[in-house]
Amino acid sequence: MNIFVCVKQVPDTETKIVPSADGTFIETSSIKWIMNPYDEYAVEQALLVQAANAGSTVTVVRVGSSKDTEALRTAMAMGADDAFLVEAADNLDSYSIAKALKGAILKSGKTPDLILTGKQAIDDDCLQVPQILATMLDLPSVSVVVEYTGTASDITVKREVEGGSLEVYGVKLPAMIACNKGINTPRYASLPGIMKAKKKPLTTLSLADVGVSDADRRVKYSNFQLPPEKPPGKKFDATDAAKTGAVVKEVVGLLRTEAKVI
């Protein structure tokens, strides 16, 4: 099977975010980049499917800045065979990213049997790329998948929806699947894996190589700003059991009269 995994590189959760001076994005110079956490599930799922289907290859594709190749190196250290990087700014919109991913997959010369990705990237949280890419490639696809079973030709996946309910889909491959937490437990890259990853092929492409231009931008951002500072709240000490009743009474009263939410 030709298995593809689309990954994104995002700022580490703990990173301090500062809007750029022109307000069109964030300051990226001092950011620590990591692989989007949901994409780790996709890489792991690709490796599990590869292990179950002898002769399969796992190719990782990413669109973004070439300053740091952490996400691709991590994926290859986990076990992916090769990688494609489409060099681009880190603030491309979902439509352009999906079109670039499609272009890179076509450029690889391999026809995908299965494309995996995380359900969303935790930078812009759009939750669009998997569905756009599937539509562009005219592949059946299921998003927010928490369980994956099947063969090289037929799979059953469970998609999580409201209230913890699961939609169970039967899908014939080729298909595109977007993974949620719960689908598997991603492995850690081993030291030999990390060493081996350095020798695995990483092909760099430009946006022009994959047919993407400024004309493909569909979403424009401006006016990036920090959320308004919340005024400090009221804090009550209920560590003394004798006072707890009075504190609770006061807070419940405030929720009705001041916050007006009850």
């Binding site: 959760t13 669009q128 009850i262």
Partner: protein, 320 residues
């Protein structure tokens, strides 16, 4: 004037609250509503109250349950025929899955999960959180029309004085086309309550819950105030609660009117999922827990003492 369609899901006799929030926000514009299936009269009455000019019930073979391809094909034809400029939907499980597919069929753009928006004349301008809510930005759409937008439930709030619409009923036959990814079965979740993403009040428990059985304390409170119970990643990873209950970066993003965090320290990844809640109450025995910096009302104390008292006090207040 922009031609606007709001796509809605049907749940029994009603539409989801977020549909009415969107309609209320678009008050003053001519807005049509479409759903897959027959829109019941109760739902039509609600849509009329919030300003729907026309309500379209779309029917066709293969659309009795959701499928990404079937719904996208059916709506694609309908929207193209109606030459809409904008299509709005709630950022629900279905909305988030469907709208990017639909937008791509038009080679069009989409703004995901906006928390507010305005129509500047005929032009949409939205606001949305990025980087786990650490910043906000203005979002605009460009390129081929129609433009697509999903709106986070509970973020806009209900318009208290909406302008009513005629809600003229119309039926349209649509074609689901070829469906390759098909639902074989739906496994119902255990909760009958509103989903976390739609709940108006949420009571969440963290690591300090110590055990899954202790969530009963939160459920008792939730039952009194009509809340849905959530959990932090620490509680989920410790096996106290299923992942479907997780609020935070690798769980659900929520925006209720009231969020009560019990025994949750307030790690960045949890704040990412709930920081846009309107009012936050935190109960934690550690006075230095980061959650207190985000809380409107913080109670330093043991949750197993405080929460049952809260439940009793709300019972008294609400006459239950």
């Amino acid at each position: 004037m922009a031609k606007i369609l709001v796509f809605t899901e049907l749940h029994g006799a009603h539409v989801k609250g977020v549909t009415l929030e969107i309609l209320g926000k678009l008050s003053g514009h001519t807005v049509e509503v479409a759903a897959i299936g027959k829109i019941p009269s109760e739902a039509t009455a609600d849509l009329a109250k919030f300003g729907a000019a026309k309500v379209h019930s779309l029917n066709g073979a293969g659309l009795d349950k959701y499928s990404p391809e079937g719904y996208a094909n059916a709506l694609h034809t309908f929207i193209a025929a109606g030459s809409f400029d904008y299509v709005f939907a709630g950022a629900t499980s279905l909305g988030k899955d469907l709208l990017p597919r639909l937008a791509t069929k038009f080679d069009a753009g989409m703004a995901s999960e906006v928390t507010n928006f305005v129509m500047e004349g005929d032009k949409f301008a939205g606001t949305r959180p990025l980087f786990a809510g650490k910043c906000f930005a203005k979002v605009e759409l460009t390129g081929p029309k129609p433009h697509f937008v999903t709106v986070r439930p509970n973020a806009l709030g209900m318009n208290a004085n909406p302008t009513a619409g005629a809600a003229t009923a119309a039926d349209a036959a649509v074609d689901a086309g070829t469906i390759r990814a098909m639902i074989k079965e739906i496994v119902k979740g255990t909760s009958e309550k509103l989903d976390l993403t739609e709940a108006n009040i949420i009571v969440s428990g963290g690591r300090a819950m110590k055990d899954s059985a202790n969530f009963k304390v939160l459920e008792d409170l939730a039952n009194v105030i009509g809340a849905t119970v959530g959990a932090s990643r620490a509680a989920v990873d410790s096996g106290f609660a299923p992942h479907a209950m997780q609020v935070g970066q690798t769980g659900k993003t929520v925006a209720p009117s009231l969020y009560i965090a019990c025994g949750i320290s307030g790690a960045i990844q949890h704040l990412a999922g709930m920081r846009t809640s309107k009012v936050i109450v935190a109960i934690n025995s550690d006075p230095d827990a980061p959650i207190f910096t985000k809380a409107d009302y913080g109670i330093v104390g043991d949750l197993f003492t405080v929460v049952p008292l809260l439940t009793q006090e709300f019972k008294n207040l609400l006459g239950k």
